[in-house]
C-alpha cells in the first residue's frame, strides 16, 4: 500500500509528442488557423485614410486615448462598449458550447492555434512522431542539438513576430517596425515585445496543453454548459468494445463479422486516437476535462476504420443522450432547448444593443458643470449670476467650431467672454467658462434652462439641461 504522505503532490510534466493526421477536422483546423493568422498578422498593415492620426485601419492609440477601428473612433468614455462586447463574447461562448461543446478550445483559441503552429514546426524540422520520439530519447549529439535548436529558434522567431504584430496594433506599424529594428524604438516597445515573445514561446512552445489543463479557467467551467443533448467528441463504447472489449486484429479477428461472433468490438486498439491527441488523453475513457474537442481523434479513427474496411464514426460528435439510448439516431444538432435559446436571445439582444449604441453615437460630447462655490453671485445692480464650466469633446476627424447659446432664457443673459464660438482640434476636448446673469425678477422664475451647443459645419445642435440657482423664499 503506497504511503499517501510520501507521494508527491506535484505532477511532473509528461511531454506529449503528437502524430500528424489527415481528415476533415484537421482540414478545418488548418483553414481556421490560416484565416486567423491572416487577419491577425496582416490587419495592422491595412492602410486607412485618417486626418488626425496615423493612416492605419486598426490603431489603438494610447497616447491620445483613442481607438481607431476603421471608421469608428472609440473614446475612453465609450468603455461600456467593451463591457457589452465582453458580454457578447461570453454569451457566444455559452451558446456554442451548449450546442457543440468546446468548439472555441478546439478550433479558435489562440493557445490552440499557436500550440498547433509550434507542433507543426517540430514536425517540419524533426519529422513524424517516431522520429521525434527517437530524437528525444537519444543522447545529445550534433543532430539533436541542430534539430531541437532549430525548431526552438523558429518558434521564438514566430513568437517574436507575434509580439511585434501585437505592438503594431498600438502604434503606426511601418514606423514601429522600422524603429524597432533600427534600434531607435521606444523602451516600452522593446519591453512589450520582449514580454510577449517570452509569453508566446512559453505558452505555445513549452507549456502547451498545460495551459489548458492547469491555467485556463474556461476549460474548467465550460463543462457546466454541457447538457445531455450537447454534441461532444465521443467514443462509441458499445460498438467499440462489444461484449469482450477491444482487441487487436489478430488472425481470425480481422473482419467485422468474425469480431462480432467472437464478442469483440470494432476498436482494434491501434492507439492512433491517443497518439494524435494534443492533450495526451485517451478518448475511449469517456468525456474528460482535458479534452479540448479538436476532433483530431475522429480523423485518426476514421482513417483506421477506412483502412480496415469498417464503417466510420467509431469516434464521432454525438450527444450523451443519444449514446445512452437503445437505438441511437444519427447525431444531429438539437437546439430547441431552454438554455440554448436563452443564450441566443441574450446574444441577439446585446448585439443589437451594441450596434444601436454605436450607430447612434454623437460626434460631439458636451457636459455642463455648474460652479457650486458659490451657488450664485449677487451683482452690484441686484441681479444674479450663475457660472458654468462647459466641456466639449470633438470626436470627429477634423477641427470643428462650436457656438454656444442658451434656450429658455434671454440670449443676452449669457456671457461667454471671448468664447461664444470656439474651435476645437480633432479628437480633443476643451473646457470654457460661461456665466449667466439674470435680473432678480427673472431669476425667481427660472429654475432650469438649456445650453445649446451647435457644431458649425453640420448645424447639429446638442441640448444640455442645467439649473439656475438663486435665493428662494424658503431659504
Amino acid at each position: 500500500m503506497p504511503d499517501q504522505a510520501e507521494k508527491s503532490l506535484y505532477q511532473k510534466h509528461i511531454p506529449i509528442v503528437t502524430r500528424s493526421v489527415k481528415g476533415q477536422f484537421r482540414t478545418f483546423k488548418t483553414a481556421v488557423m490560416l484565416l486567423a493568422y491572416s487577419v491577425y498578422f496582416l490587419l495592422p498593415w491595412m492602410p486607412w485614410a485618417r486626418v488626425s492620426a496615423a493612416s492605419q485601419a486598426i490603431l489603438f492609440d494610447l497616447t491620445t486615448r483613442r481607438f481607431f477601428i476603421f471608421n469608428l473612433i472609440v473614446y475612453p468614455q465609450d468603455i461600456f462598449w467593451l463591457a457589452m462586447l465582453l458580454f457578447i463574447a461570453a454569451a457566444l461562448l455559452f451558446f456554442v458550447t451548449g450546442l457543440v461543446g468546446r468548439a472555441w478550445c478546439g478550433y479558435f483559441c489562440f493557445q490552440t492555434l499557436w500550440s498547433d503552429m509550434f507542433i507543426q514546426i517540430e514536425h517540419l524540422i524533426q519529422g513524424e512522431r517516431p522520429a521525434r520520439l527517437r530524437l528525444k530519447n537519444q543522447n545529445w549529439n550534433l543532430e539533436k542539438i541542430l534539430k531541437i535548436g532549430a525548431s526552438h529558434a523558429l518558434m521564438i522567431l514566430v513568437s517574436m513576430w507575434t509580439a511585434i504584430t501585437f505592438a503594431c496594433y498600438f502604434s503606426y506599424a511601418p514606423t514601429f517596425v522600422y524603429h524597432f529594428f533600427n534600434g531607435t524604438g521606444v523602451a516600452g516597445g522593446y519591453f512589450a515585445v520582449l514580454v510577449l515573445t517570452l509569453l508566446t514561446y512559453m505558452a505555445g512552445g513549452v507549456a502547451r496543453e498545460q495551459i489548458c489543463l492547469y491555467a485556463c479557467p474556461y476549460a474548467r467551467f465550460q463543462s457546466v454548459m454541457y447538457e445531455a443533448d450537447t454534441l461532444a467528441v465521443t467514443y462509441d463504447a458499445k460498438r467499440g468494445e462489444g461484449m469482450k472489449g477491444r482487441t487487436i486484429p489478430i488472425q481470425g479477428l480481422k473482419t467485422q463479422d468474425e469480431r462480432t461472433l467472437a464478442g469483440h468490438g470494432d476498436c482494434i486498439d491501434c492507439g492512433f486516437c491517443v497518439q494524435v491527441c494534443p492533450t495526451g488523453i485517451d478518448i475511449r475513457n469517456g468525456l474528460q476535462y482535458q479534452c479540448i474537442s479538436c476532433g483530431l481523434c475522429i480523423d485518426a479513427c476514421d482513417n483506421i476504420m477506412d483502412s480496415v474496411g469498417y464503417p466510420r464514426g467509431l469516434i464521432r460528435y454525438d450527444s450523451e443522450r443519444n449514446m445512452a439510448s437503445e437505438v441511437p439516431e444519427p447525431p444531429r444538432v438539437i437546439w430547441k432547448r431552454f438554455k440554448v435559446i436563452g443564450y441566443a436571445v441574450a446574444l441577439l439582444l446585446m448585439t443589437g444593443l451594441l450596434f444601436y449604441n454605436i450607430g447612434t453615437r454623437s460626434d460631439t460630447e458636451v457636459s455642463v458643470q455648474q460652479v457650486r462655490q458659490p451657488l450664485y453671485v449677487m451683482l452690484s445692480n441686484g441681479s444674479l449670476r450663475n457660472r458654468y464650466l462647459i466641456h466639449i469633446v470633438n470626436k470627429t476627424e477634423s477641427d470643428q467650431i462650436y457656438t454656444i447659446d442658451v434656450d429658455g432664457i434671454s440670449p443676452r443673459s449669457l456671457d461667454m467672454r471671448f468664447f461664444k464660438a470656439v474651435s476645437i482640434k480633432a479628437g480633443k476636448g476643451l473646457s470654457v467658462n460661461a456665466s449667466v446673469n439674470l435680473s432678480a425678477e427673472d431669476a425667481s422664475k427660472v429654475r432650469e434652462f438649456n445650453f445649446l451647443i451647435t457644431q458649425a459645419s453640420t448645424q447639429k445642435v446638442i441640448k444640455v439641461e442645467t439649473n439656475f440657482n438663486s435665493p428662494r423664499e424658503h431659504d
Binding site: 500500500m1 504511503d3 453671485v377 452690484s380 464650466l389 467672454r417 476643451l430 456665466s435
Partner: protein
Amino acid sequence: MSQDNKKVTVETTGHVWDDDLQELNNPLPRWWIWGFYITFGFALVYWLFYPAWPIGNTYTKGIPGLNNVTYVATKVDGTQETKTTHWNMRSKLMVEMNDLQAEQKPYVDKVASKSFEDVAKDPELMQFVNSAGKTLFATNCVPCHQAGGQGKVKFAPNLTDDYWQYGGTYENIQTTIVGGRHGVMPAFKTILNDAELTQVSNYVLSLSGEPHNADAAKLGDAIFHGDKAGCYACHGVDAKGNIAIGSANLTDKVWLWPDVLGAKTPEAKLNEVKTLIYGGMDKGVMPVWETRLKPEQIKLLTVYVHDSLGGGK
C-alpha cells in the same frame, strides 16, 4: 483515489494530550520556504540601496553614491540649488515636482509673455489658467476669500461679483495682488451723536433702495455732504466710492462690512450700518504678494481672478 482506508503517517511534534490528541508537524511547502529565503536576499540588497536601519538619531543610508537622487530646489530667497542626496521619499517627491514644473513651464511662459487680453482670448491657455490658477488660489487666497472666491461678509470681499473696491481691470487686480491693500474707515463716534448716526445710516440705506426712514435720510443726506462728517470726501459726492482709495460704493447691492443683506429686519439693517459708522473699520487688509509669489504666478492669478472667477471688468 479514496484515502478512507489508508493509514496516514505524518510526523508529529511528539506532544500528546488526552491520550490520543497529537500535534502534527506538516513541513512548509518547498516553494514557500524558497520564497522565504529569497526575501532574505532581497533585504540584503535593499539595505545597500535604500535607507534602512535606524541607529540612534540617524540611520543607514545605503552604500554612498550607489543610489543617489538629484533635484533642483528653490531656496527661500528664490535662488535655485541643485542637490544630490541618498535615496529618500522627499528627494523623490522633489524630482517629481521638478518634472511637473518642467511640463508646466511652456504654459507658464506663454502666460507671462502674452498680454492679459491675449491670455483670456486663448481657449487652451484659459484651460491652463483655470486649473493652475485654481491651485495657486487654493494655496494662497482661499483662507480669506474662501474656496470659490466668494469671500465672506465682514472679512474679505467677494471676487466673483462685478463690484471692485480697488477696480476690476487686469491692471487693478494685478496692483492689488502685488502691493496688497489696507482699507480703513475712521470711527465717527466722537464726531456724530446718536441721532446724527441714525440719520446718516438711513441715508446710506436709502442709496441702494434698502428700507429706511425717508425723513431721517433727508437729514442724513445733509450730514453726508456736510463738512462736519465729510463722508463725501472719501465716498464721493454721488456716494459711488473711489477705487483709488478703496472707498465703498454705497449705491449698489453689494455690502462687505455691514451685513445689510444678511439682516432680516429694517432695524437690524440700520443697526449694521450705524455700528460700522460709529466704530469705523480697520480690517480691510490684503497682504503684499510681491514678495511671496513670482511675477508670472501673480499674472496667472490675475487672469484667474478676472476671468475664471468671472467678475473682472
